[in-house]
């Protein structure tokens, strides 16, 4: 049987065939137990340039991660994109070989929640579109964006995509998880240039489960508004400033330090927190942060994680107090709690947040109630987007030094900042929050209000 186990037209996985095959091979190869996560996806995407198609792409992809327990209960893992019977057999042999080096001190097990009931998320699969339809939509978006202002000369980075993904998790004890997802996204990154000035750029992104509901107009308007506001720029002086983080920027910062909430990082000594940190006050007392993979606005939500554990909403910081960590099966067992649905699949299982939600707790007043993005007259720096997060953040030390796009605001008037970096310590930032605004704003990476922080170091070029 050498035929592919996926149907290339619609990309469906046959869990029963896979299960039978894995059972057969596991008996042949003396495997104690096994589990497997697999996915197939179908994507099309387009890029345009000055009204013409630039790049048109399509893909049909498969992948499988297979985990086996050998007769000494050591775990081995392997992954493959060859989901044929031969490919799977090869992967299983690879996993057995890897299991001989399995870590006896810390071995994963099946999640105790791998067969419990799942929440329904994103069950609607949208209709497909042709590549020509995507092209026309993006060409129009490019034109509309360039037409918004005479200085906008191009949209050098852009893309519109439509994806269909299917994921399964099965194990030798009968767990059987299955879910389909559709997702569309658009990004527009435009460039503008005025005489005797540096070129400026700005961008926007939108994601939806359905291409027909993708809010392209707001993406165009956001990109255009930002870019026009960056045309008049100036260098700022190096100093300590009052900062307002936009929802996007604050979520970027919290995500960059999400190892604070990550039980795997804590066990590995890579987190600012430790096992005894639960219950500690780590921020101002009116800050709440939770991870809400099941939030209806999270269009990329899956109802189960890599180990088959149901996705759950978890409170991380409540009233400024560290409340919970994110767990895999192995970390939960070590901490004496239940898995939280944030695991990958591996011999050493990774843990990561799904969708962070930042909000204001009503239990305490803000330090400076007067601050408001809409009418504050004080001088402050509005940070819109952080860059170089992979290199400018030291999660285990809490420090960061990051370039950003933003404005200096005086008397309510915004002037773009030519180039600058913001530096600090995350725990100090969390305790220097002076205002959390009331309006919660949905972004593609989570939900947050504008958050104000005092006395933050900014390096400018003036």
């Amino acid at each position: 049987m050498n035929k592919s186990l996926t149907n290339q037209k619609i990309g469906t996985l046959d869990a029963e065939v896979l299960n039978n095959l894995l059972e057969k091979y596991s008996k042949e190869l003396e495997i104690l137990k096994w589990d497997m996560g697999a996915s197939v996806s179908n994507d099309i995407s387009v890029q345009v340039q000055h009204g013409n198609a630039k790049q048109l792409k399509g893909s049909q992809r498969n992948s499988m991660t297979l985990r086996v327990w050998n007769k000494d209960n050591q775990v081995g893992v392997t992954s493959t994109s060859d989901i044929t019977s031969e490919g799977i057999k090869k992967a299983m042999r690879g996993a057995i070989e890897a299991s001989l080096f399995g870590n006896k001190k810390e071995s994963p097990e099946f999640s105790p929640l791998a067969k419990t009931k799942l929440e329904e998320v994103n069950s609607q699969i949208s209709n497909t579109h042709t590549i020509d339809e995507l092209l026309n939509i993006l060409k129009n978006a490019e034109k509309d964006l360039i037409d918004t202002h005479q200085s906008i000369d191009s949209v050098p980075y852009n893309g519109l995509s439509e994806s269909y993904m299917e994921r399964i998790y099965i194990n030798s004890e009968g767990a059987n998880r299955h879910m389909k997802l559709s997702q569309s996204s658009i990004y527009l990154y435009a460039k503008a240039e005025e005489k005797n000035k540096k070129p400026r750029s700005a961008g926007g992104i939108r994601i939806n489960s359905n291409l027909d509901k993708l809010d392209i107009l707001s993406c165009i308007n956001e990109t255009s508004d930002k870019l026009i506001s960056h045309l008049n720029y100036k260098a700022i002086e190096t100093n300590k400033y009052l900062i307002c983080f936009t929802p996007e920027a604050f979520l970027q910062l919290i995500n960059a330090f999400s190892s604070m909430f990550n039980a795997r990082s804590i066990i590995d000594g890579l987190s600012l927190m430790n096992e005894r940190s639960i219950g500690n006050q780590i921020s101002v007392s009116n800050l709440n942060i939770s991870d809400e993979g099941l939030h209806p606005e999270n269009v990329g939500a899956f109802s189960f994680d890599g180990e088959g554990t149901p996705t759950q909403n978890i409170k991380l910081i409540s009233n400024g107090i560290l409340t919970n960590f994110l767990h895999s099966e192995a970390t939960a067992r070590k901490f004496g709690v239940k898995p939280t649905g944030h695991a990958g699949l591996g011999a050493k299982v990774s843990v990561s947040p799904d969708w962070l939600v930042v909000s204001k707790s009503e239990s305490e007043m803000d330090k400076d109630e007067s601050l408001c993005i809409k009418n504050t007259l004080k001088e402050y720096i509005l940070i819109d987007e952080l860059s170089a997060i992979h290199s400018g953040v030291k999660p285990s030390q809490g420090s960061f030094s990051l370039p950003f796009d933003g404005w200096i605001v005086n008397d309510g008037k915004r002037t773009s900042i030519e180039a600058a970096t913001v530096a600090g310590d995350i725990l100090k930032v969390l305790k220097s929050i002076v205002k959390i605004e009331n309006e919660n704003i949905v972004t593609h990476q989570g939900i947050s209000p504008h958050v104000w922080v005092e006395n933050v170091s900014i390096t400018g070029e003036a």
Partner: protein, 481 residues
């Protein structure tokens, strides 16, 4: 999607090695594409076998083998192209992908008959001499032992190294490229990297430090790794930075160390010399061939031919042999890096720079081994020339905006006072713009050295080498606290 020319739909290309025997099947695909009216059809086939290992403290904590197969089919029509990738290497799967790529460009198989496809050339087999590379690489026993030696060596260096990690990754790839202009070439690639990193903790102070080493085409690389030397250097760096204070922000002269210091040139300048950037209209150097864009002390190359360097290749991912491409000579821009599509759209000749992470990406113009050439000064002379500045001994990563604005973190920095190295500092970020900084590189030392790295861009993450001698930048913005 059925087609009478391809009748054995379940025949799977996987059951052949990538060699001459595939020729008739691939020629059928290419012929079909040409008959539909495509100007050029390219098929890229790939098999991969990878291993990644991790040792933490005194245990092996992760052993992850992975296997991959796939194909990327690209169709050109005029200056447009359509690209489809698939894991399904059956004839049915490849035909489905070809048809999808053709449809993207408004083409359909069987609609035109006046095509001319003369067939593929004889196979140019760069992989023939590399058949034994995979078998000659260290097995899991040997590899895991080496990593545990590394973490043990670190443990012996200092008790305050609370986190000690060593990782190894071996990526083996077999590729076959065939195009309707006759290109038919095969290659085998072997890349190995080892990484070590530590977190030192003393009282309430913490520092982290990391190093990575990489090679291509050298099965013995891990065996020859000088563990003691690497562990010594890493520990020294972590200990020095443990009590470092934060650097004060400001404009100042800096000296950037050799090896990985070249990452700034790679990111802030090299990318702007790729035709991918010219096509977008985002490179400030678009019309600067034969113009002075850098200080006259700066000459720079991008090449794919240095023995065992991480970015070296026998052929690029479009079947072309690599070159030694002179980018900048005495400050004057000489050439751009170009792939097939870039050449088609910008007119700049191909340089053997068409690269991709794997079959799921269309090739694009990408760097290989990129470095500033060495000059005549000693590194000490660069330091001596500065009264008040910063020495960047070890660079972290960074980011570059679409028009060359860059930001890079300094992992290990030292103040320079009156021509001498002073106390260590942390938290420094270098901020600038390629066009403004290149003319300020006023001195190049005589100690060129290279470092392995990964470069992420439009065609995925590819192995590259960055490099430079020690260089002096007369003035740059340093971000700090």
């Amino acid at each position: 999607m059925t087609n009478t020319l391809l009748t054995k739909l379940n025949e799977n290309l996987l059951f052949h090695t990538f060699d001459e025997r595939l020729k008739p099947q691939i020629e059928e695909l290419l012929s079909l594409g040409k008959s539909a009216g495509a100007d050029l059809v390219e098929v890229f086939l790939e098999k991969s076998e990878n291993i990644s290992l991790l040792a933490e403290q005194d245990d092996i904590s992760n052993v992850s083998p992975s296997f991959g197969i796939g194909a990327g089919i690209r169709v050109f029509h005029g200056k447009k192209d359509g690209f489809v990738s698939t894991n399904d290497l059956s004839k049915a799967g490849l035909l489905f992908a070809l048809n999808q790529a053709l449809r993207m460009l408004g083409l359909t198989t069987g609609t035109k008959n006046n095509y001319k496809f003369v067939g593929l050339s004889d196979l140019k087999d760069f992989g023939k001499k590399k058949i034994d590379w995979l078998d000659n690489s260290p097995d899991l026993d040997e590899s895991t032992l080496k990593l545990l030696q590394a973490t043990k060596s670190l443990a012996n260096k200092n008790k305050n190294l609370q986190v000690r990690r060593a990782s190894y990754s071996r990526n083996w790839q077999e590729v076959l490229v065939a195009a309707s202009d006759g290109v038919f070439a095969r290659d085998i690639r072997l890349h190995q990297t080892v990484g070590i990193n530590v977190i030192a903790q003393q009282d309430k102070n913490r520092s982290s430090s990391a190093r990575r080493y990489g090679s291509s085409g050298n099965p013995d690389d891990l065996r020859n790794w000088e563990i003691e030397k690497s562990a010594y250097e890493l520990n020294e760096s972590a200990q020095r930075m443990l009590y470092a204070g934060y650097v004060d922000a400001g404009q100042m002269p800096v000296v950037l160390a050799n090896k990985f210091g070249g990452v700034i040139f790679h990111e802030a300048c090299g990318h702007l010399l790729e035709t991918t950037q010219l096509e977008r209209g985002t490179s400030p150097f678009n019309n600067s061939i034969n113009k002075q864009i850098a200080h006259k002390s700066v000459s720079a190359v991008d090449e794919g031919i240095s023995n065992h360097a991480f970015g070296s290749i026998s052929m690029d991912d479009e079947g072309m042999e690599p070159q030694n491409t002179l980018l900048i000579e005495n400050g004057i821009l000489k050439q751009f890096l170009s792939d097939r599509a870039g050449s088609l759209r910008t007119g700049h000749p191909r340089t053997g720079s068409g690269r991709r992470q794997n079959f799921s990406f269309a090739a694009a113009s990408r760097m290989r081994n990129t470095y500033i050439k060495q000059g005549n000064f000693s590194p000490e002379e660069l330091i001596k020339s500065i009264d008040d500045g910063l020495y960047c001994k070890s660079m972290g990563g960074g980011s570059v905006g679409p028009t060359g604005q860059f930001n890079f973190s300094v992992e290990e920095g030292y103040l320079i006072k009156n021509g001498k190295l002073d106390k260590p500092v942390k938290g420094a970020t270098l901020i600038g713009e390629a066009k403004e900084i290149l003319p300020r590189i006023s001195m190049c030392a005589n100690d060129l050295d290279l470092a392995a790295g990964f470069c992420g861009s439009v065609s995925g993450s590819v192995n590259v080498t960055v490099g430079q001698p020690h260089i002096k930048v007369d003035s740059i913005t340093v971000g700090g606290r």
